[in-house]
Point group: C2
Chain length 441, copies 2
Amino acid sequence: MDVQNELEKMGLKLGEVEKYIEDMGYFKGKADAVVLAKSTEDVARVVKFANEREIPIIPWGRGTSVTGAVTPIKGGIIIDLSSMNRIIDFSDEDWIVHVEAGAILDEINAFLRPRGFFFPPDPASSFMCSIGGATSEGSGGMHCVKYGTMKDWVLAMKVVLPDGSTVTVGEPLHKNRVGYDLTHLMIGSEGTLGVITEVWLKVVPIPGYKIKRVLTFFDSEEDIGRTIINLRKNRVQPEIAEYMDLKVLEAVKSSFNIETHGVGALLIDVPEFEIEKLNLSLSNPSFVKVADSEEEKEELYKARSYAYLAVKTLAKYAMSEDVVVPISKLPKVFKKVRELEEKYGMKCPMVGHIGDGNLHPIILYDDASKDRAESFFRELCIYVIDEGGSVTGEHGVGIQKREMAIRQIEEHNGRPLLDLMKEIKLVFDKKKIMNPYKQVV
Amino acid sequence: MDVQNELEKMGLKLGEVEKYIEDMGYFKGKADAVVLAKSTEDVARVVKFANEREIPIIPWGRGTSVTGAVTPIKGGIIIDLSSMNRIIDFSDEDWIVHVEAGAILDEINAFLRPRGFFFPPDPASSFMCSIGGATSEGSGGMHCVKYGTMKDWVLAMKVVLPDGSTVTVGEPLHKNRVGYDLTHLMIGSEGTLGVITEVWLKVVPIPGYKIKRVLTFFDSEEDIGRTIINLRKNRVQPEIAEYMDLKVLEAVKSSFNIETHGVGALLIDVPEFEIEKLNLSLSNPSFVKVADSEEEKEELYKARSYAYLAVKTLAKYAMSEDVVVPISKLPKVFKKVRELEEKYGMKCPMVGHIGDGNLHPIILYDDASKDRAESFFRELCIYVIDEGGSVTGEHGVGIQKREMAIRQIEEHNGRPLLDLMKEIKLVFDKKKIMNPYKQVV
């Protein structure tokens, strides 16, 4: 209460702590106070105050993390940036949009699309996630198979450093080689290095060519993996390449008009001129459906977008993996997931941005099977690390994957790299107030 | 000599110090020894030795820096990586090529093209520059207007850290969110954080659509800037968009079959389906030439590639700027360059990747006019900083732009960001042996 009083005396607006207890991955923690920031200056004042007293700071965009990235583990002050949601500036000459960190991703695109542009990264939570959160998490989404993730689209950002000073990281320019690249150090740092209050994003024109959306069903996951390998070998660059297994298709069926056949389906967008090469790449398809209308295209896209939310309703809890493997190893990892499903006697619907080797097996569990779910999660992570993959492609580390992420760095990169990360954390945040116990630091 | 003897005793192969005196920008310095590294292990041994004795280390790819990035300012050991030039692995499933740092960029593309792929960043020195050097410099080139620079294409690298330990930075995967992004910290760090010995690069299929190459002449630079602005406003994504002024066209004319008209020309590649929009974007063109054959296309591309080398022959020395401005400010910066040309009474041929606002005014000078050339350089840099631009888009900082780069950070980013960079340097390199006095650290 003391902290709340002091923050109020500073003229800051406070939120209700109880509304910030849980993220979308059920990670729970209670803050000592929530500040509803209205400006970068508000943020700077809170951070300075917290730094002086060594109180943890947790930056909060819209709370859509599924890894506990915004969970206050040892109390502290949540800075809610959702009121800082302005689109500050846009230039159709520079192809750059400048926004506040609390702006919702889909709202940025709603602004850009009538102007003929779009911002490609599209996490499933894009209808509600903040751009600051997406930046801090280095988020991905369906279009990332072609366009890359947040790291490929953020040019610069305004950041309140842990000592309360405000800097601009990067330059709002398409090219810049001055100094070390701290922009990318911030992207994906999960609020452990400072508070992002504004970002400058690259945007691109909506493609002028026609795009075909194809939903293809298969009778084996081996053939699904094989199809993606064939696409690569045939040098097809899809706009999206998504997987939904039968359990996922069944889950979204009640809300969306989608067919179900075989063991699962690939949802693939390609430019019209690539449709022949796509057909050649399909490995034993059992049923192929080309979307005929814009409405049908939209319906299929939405079905895939809402898959995680639909699957979550199937059990008390859902634990989402976010593994990435080299494309060549897709068939192997499919097999492993199914083996583990059997071994642990659990259901694991699977979706994923399969086009870049990024799969989301979603382990369903209840209070009684929580330990088994965690063993399943861990065993798959270890398998993926051993196969040269990564335990996270876009969800980030948060609390959920700390142990596995550290293991991955030790096995793939070497312990000295982990030590460097920890030392860099201290360079930014000497008192370790910024979002403690997250990422690998 | 002592150092040379000790290195030889370690069984390392040494090069002739005299061959490593000067880079392509006339920056001079003499090393105490040159080691011709054959392996990452060789590099690690040299770095460990140097670290123990606090001897500077200068990583050397092919010496194509134009900023003094590989110049030994206070002696030290040059590690020449040019013998480490293998293509280690390539996967047409994963679209990743794994190469040693000394591999020449064009040779990587010569390997990829018959397989249907290419690696987009293409600095003018691509016929001789090393991929390790291009990574350390964060290099760009003509295709970067569409595809981005090195920072958009390097997934991971093997690095010998300043203490002699070897790590892998990043993951050879299209997506990875584990830990802090130190890959991008290394890209553009100009050898100040470690020695890159291997890199994993993304590659992409050669486009399936037809590309038109158009050379358009103009009677004013105002119209040239205006044309680029129009292209942006019309949402045309060119494959390349290059500028050559009349002095440059005249310089390349003797070696290439190229016409000259007006004050200069834009060389623009667009997909065939965008040709109408390109025509609409041209602001008062005085002469338009569409390349008819593959030979003609190649001739024009080469003329632009060799522009810097051709211009260098026009005077005893040539000093290349590498400024970037927001697209909207192109007409203003053109005007400024011409004003400065007049003010200082010097010739300044200009080329540039104008499509992303990156210009290379090349100041010609001799021994008598060196000071004036430097004043010209400085004054343009300060103008660009004041206009919200950057003093380097792709050449890097090296020795040449240290003062201006620091000024830019202080004005645009804030002094605390510069301090963070210096502290990060110390985290990696406690004894400051790695390529001292380069970049801003």
